[in-house]
Subunit: 350 residues, 2 copies
Amino acid sequence: MKPTGPGSGINRRILLSALPLLPMPALLPGTAAMAQDTGSQLASWNDGPAKQAIIDFVRATTDASSSKFVPPQERIATFDQDGTLWVEHPMYTQVIYCLDRVPAVVAQKPQFKNREPFKTVLSGDREAMAKLSLPELEEILIATLTGMPVEVFEAEAKKWIETAKHPRWGRLYTELTYQPMLEVLQYLRANGYKTYIVTGGGQDFVRVSSQQLYGIPPEQVVGTASGTKYGYGKDGKPFLTKEPKLLLNDNNAGKPEGIHLEIGRRPRAAFGNSTGDRQMLEYTGAGDGARLMMLLLHDDAQREYAYGPAQGLPDTKVGTFTQALYDEAKKDGWTVISMKNDWKRIFAFD
Amino acid sequence: MKPTGPGSGINRRILLSALPLLPMPALLPGTAAMAQDTGSQLASWNDGPAKQAIIDFVRATTDASSSKFVPPQERIATFDQDGTLWVEHPMYTQVIYCLDRVPAVVAQKPQFKNREPFKTVLSGDREAMAKLSLPELEEILIATLTGMPVEVFEAEAKKWIETAKHPRWGRLYTELTYQPMLEVLQYLRANGYKTYIVTGGGQDFVRVSSQQLYGIPPEQVVGTASGTKYGYGKDGKPFLTKEPKLLLNDNNAGKPEGIHLEIGRRPRAAFGNSTGDRQMLEYTGAGDGARLMMLLLHDDAQREYAYGPAQGLPDTKVGTFTQALYDEAKKDGWTVISMKNDWKRIFAFD
């Protein structure tokens, strides 16, 4: 993923991402009527301003007698994935996937075996891996995410996500989605909203499991995207190959740009958790009428993680929520969700 | 739209396109059951192999007991626009829009007034305009399609399409959609298919009127796309500006590439009318299970136009349907629709 596109200042954030598979954990069933009346679908939320903001927004925009009513076709809600819909610590899931793929790539290309950064990854030394430089990480991503037919990539990613586990919980990554956010997705959909993922992670990677994890079909996933190249196999059959050419860097300003490219409508609601989501929330908020902008603050080291560095939380470099972003949220009327205070439980298995 | 993207051999075709607004002409209402039973929604089609191919495909893929059954979420159908859903002669509608916009652009940038190609366009001399070179046309497209906020472009295009008329019929371009194809769109949707436009025309241009013309929302339009740039106005409000930078050349190989980028699923059915649609149909046909590939042959000079040059029709350079494409269709089991023989009527007003 060479930075050949517009606004392509590559950083660690854009190199990373996440996604999964597996049966979807316990989405509550519900009719639009139920949802609209009581917000009772938000069962994992504590009563408070965050839960209330969601309910107020949905009620106002779906009430035909309200001045804030939004026609169904304009009901678009966008969600960042890493750190907003599922765990992004200690590392974006997609990066773990790429590191895990290195042995298979080296098996196919033995010339990589004694070359850095592949050698370090093959050593299995996690500490050394954590010190890989940005260009080294980039080389690993290019080697593991591009060069193959799209169906081959899809099959490999699918297989991985069905078995890979998170070191802290010893559970599948696919189990580490946030139950309260699954409820928000479901609540919005029950009220006519079309839900999208807008992720800095790889679009193809996230699409592999978006339906199973979130009930979001691949065509409603916008992410960092490399180009593909159409060609023909020896049998004359056409196929697309993933190219190491960045088309869309779906982070920061790239999020509203990606939304315009692949959706073509300004969202009515947007959810994020880091500075990479700032422009998406600004762009959402700049539209007319009722809008909902929410930022998840990871302030719960006990049940998940606490990092920021907004509100004096540690700066862990993954999913950075700065104090400046916090201040912008307060100034612009965005709602900050405190994981610690607003969520009754974090995961379906809690 | 400078050719900076992959596969960016610019030709007249990619520079052009079409779209409209206005209330949608007479879409037949219908339930899935009706549609599935009889294909009675295809009222403007003569009985014959083309109509039958559509009905057979829909029946097989929606019958849960059929080996060709397709789960609803995989029911994706893609349609070229110019020459497939509406008239593309004598010139792609989007090019007419761009030519019509020149006076307004020159009013804002008086330095263009005595410069070619703007001078020729301002002269109103249609014959001279028809002789503009490719780089000159490109300059006009860049001047009229980029450099403004996306909402400004949208408003301008919307205003134009509400009043612009076709020289032959003296009717709004928006009335020149093909009634039989509107019926196919409706029939597929009634059977659970998600319908997409995949056009060589400008994505933003086509999105302005896709809902009104075809019942296809903007987010289901994939087209030739330039990048946008996120920035802030003097009031601090963020907005996106259309940039003269080609991101996706959605023609030829660019069609399957665009489908992968913005949909992420291989279509089950694809409809086109020219060599620009070849790869989309090939890619669709290369998938497993039931697939429907159809090409519209314009062989009706009396009711619409006859051009090709397949089957000895004249080569008019717009929407080229070569004999080689015709032969590929026959060889690969694609269905060629004869406008003359397969369609009872062409337009809703016939």
